[in-house]
Amino acid sequence: MSKCRIPLGPFHPLLEEAEFFDIKVEGEKVVDIEMETGWMHRGHEKISETRSYTQSIFLVERICGICSTSHPFAAAHAMEDIDNVEIPERAKYIRIFIGEMERIHSHLLWLGLAGHFIGYDTLWMWTWKYREPVLQIFEKVSGNRNHYAMFRVGGVSRDFDNALIPEIHPVLDMLEKKMLMLAGAVKDDPVLRSRLKGVGVLTKDDAINYCANGPTARASGVDIDVRRDDGLEYDLVNFDVIVLPNGDVYDKMVVRVLEIIESVKIIRQCLDAFPKVGGEYLNKVKHISPGEGIGRYEAPRGEVFHYIRSDGSNRPLRHKVRAPSFSNIPTYKASCVGIPLADALITLAAVDPCYCCTERSIRVVDKNNKKLEHNILTMSREKTANLKKVVAGSEKTPIDRIFED
């Protein structure tokens, strides 16, 4: 059968790693994957240089909304690393709480979308139903469902309301029960098993050589977890690092399910600690002295890395951001070649759960606008024209120039 190119993407939403997969298939078999990135490139590193540290934290939060707390977490670590800023114990617990709640929400999100990718919409709906209470807790704790804006250099920006603890416990109980059930179901469901077991294997050697991290590496038997290795806040709580040996999609899924259960345990410890640990939650830093700092955090998808170089002013000279997927995405080359197309998609999804497969575009140009609904169309055009005049003025933007011919 002849070779055929399948453009996958480019609408994959990521920071610098938004990609366009050009999958070459022979019949249904993947023979090569080319990745083209840069669709979502927004130049955070450059923008950050024009922002103060406090603003930078909110800026990096908007690198990505799925694990939106991990970037602020790492950025705050990096800034604190320059001067070895002490943060109050209560702030540490609040940070852990937010981080772990987010891990739950993020893993559930991935699980649901993974279900969606393999056409199991019921699994999607169910997991997202369990995810909803988590977001509601976030709304109660931080005021927003997704971008929590909780992090500051030297602590957190809001206190945790101890009165919420009785509301959170039932959610945790529910989650734990459902996750145990789900873990059992995943193990027993023959269709799911046959669909995921042995698919898209990433060997341990490949994982190390590609510098993979996070669940992707842990499912391949590489025992790394920044929370344990880097210590800092996480020295206060006990948890296990889940490591599985096989490196296939199934193991990646199981790692995530088990991590949710671990997260529930960690959050319980935080909730127990909150009434006991009172006091300040923000150490108001005066200055950040010249120097350089490295901060990292174990995001749901792996190690988030931030490097900040400071000159003593209140904005960074250089702010380097490395999201986990940047290291994990290239592992496709090792795990996808030679497997069927349908498997390739779930493998892509398993490595990098930012949902890469929901959108894509096609390259067909056509102009046969039979204006069936003339008035609505003209209405919208007129309105746009007016708005354009008001908002943009009449000067030509670079983008207009692109489209001129």
Partner: protein, 309 residues
């Protein structure tokens, strides 16, 4: 003549099948929503959808055979109307045309072929992959489907008319009462799932893999044709199973009418539940499944039927 025109266009043909199909489509969406802890769409949702599509623009693609692109959904739609008329006639009026089972099998194939043709005419990668998959599905499920249909034919004494199969069942009890009947019925439901492109066999239309596969490039009224045809299949395919295995519907009493409707709805709900509790399988798994398991099973049923069990 006028009578047949009425059959074709009003009941149980075009008008009935489309209206009822849209309603069954609503049931499908509603039950799925319920399984997924959602509320689901309002009753008239599918009607709105189809009417809206009628008002949209049709986009034709440069440098492609427009003719095939346009004609494919219309032929498919026509073949679906024919099928539903034939099935409906024997379901409601107990009248048939000679050899209608053969006719039905061919009409079903025409539908799939139109889908493949329409999709390939667009030249879009996703659509062509969808077409390729549809072709593979057709190859894999067709044998099983024919074998399944063979069972009642054999049991009824090698009769290929639906009315005669019904008459046989009225006289000797339902075919599902026999061992071969049960096996064939189960395989039959799976075949329906594949024919209708429902999960786990919605490989050709896998939304997350190849967008909407064959239907990707269709828009406006042409898409409405496909959607309507799809929903109409919800009407006559389960009906066909009811006729073949469950003795159809008799209008003798209110109870028997309700029983007929009940049988029909039961099959629909089973299909919806299967759809909602399974992930999509891979194309090779599906082919394997149909060739290694479903078809041999159906063959066993046929053999059993020949022996007379």
């Amino acid at each position: 003549m006028l009578k047949y025109l009425f059959y074709l266009l009003v009941f149980p043909g075009f008008l009935f099948a489309s209206v009822f199909g849209l309603i069954v489509g609503w049931i499908e969406r509603k039950v799925s929503a319920r399984v997924q802890f959602r509320v689901g769409p309002p009753f008239f949702q599918n009607f709105y959808d189809v009417f809206k599509l009628w008002g949209k623009e049709i986009i034709l693609i440069k440098n492609t055979p427009y003719f095939i692109f346009v004609i494919a959904p219309i032929i498919a739609f026509a073949s679906v109307i024919m099928t539903s008329t034939i099935v409906g006639m024997s379901f409601f009026y107990h009248v048939g045309i000679g050899g209608d089972l053969i006719f039905i099998i061919y009409l079903m194939v025409i539908y799939s072929v139109c889908l493949i043709l329409g999709a390939s005419s667009t030249g879009n990668v996703y659509s062509s992959i969808g077409a390729g998959r549809e072709m593979k599905m057709l190859i894999s499920d067709e044998l099983a489907f024919v074998l399944v249909i063979l069972v009642p034919i054999i049991q009824a004494g090698y009769k290929i008319d639906l009315t005669q199969i019904l008459a046989y069942q009225n006289a000797n009890g339902m075919i599902i009462g026999s061992a071969s009947g049960i096996i064939a019925f189960i395989v039959g439901i799976l075949c329906l799932q594949a024919k209708m492109g429902l999960v786990p066999f919605d490989i050709a239309e896998a939304e997350t893999e190849i967008v909407e596969g064959p239907l990707m490039e269709y828009s406006g009224p042409l898409l409405a044709f496909w959607k309507l045809a799809h929903y109409m299949m919800y009407v006559f395919l389960p009906m066909l199973l009811v006729i073949l295995f469950w003795g159809g519907m008799s209008f003798a009493s209110f109870g028997s009418i309700m029983a007929g409707i009940g049988k029909y709805l039961l099959i629909v709900v089973v299909m919806i539940l299967i759809r909602n509790t399974n992930p999509r399988v891979r194309i090779d798994t599906a082919i394997n499944f149909f060739w290694k398991w479903a078809s041999p099973l159906a063959l066993i049923a046929v053999i059993l039927a020949i022996i007379g069990v």
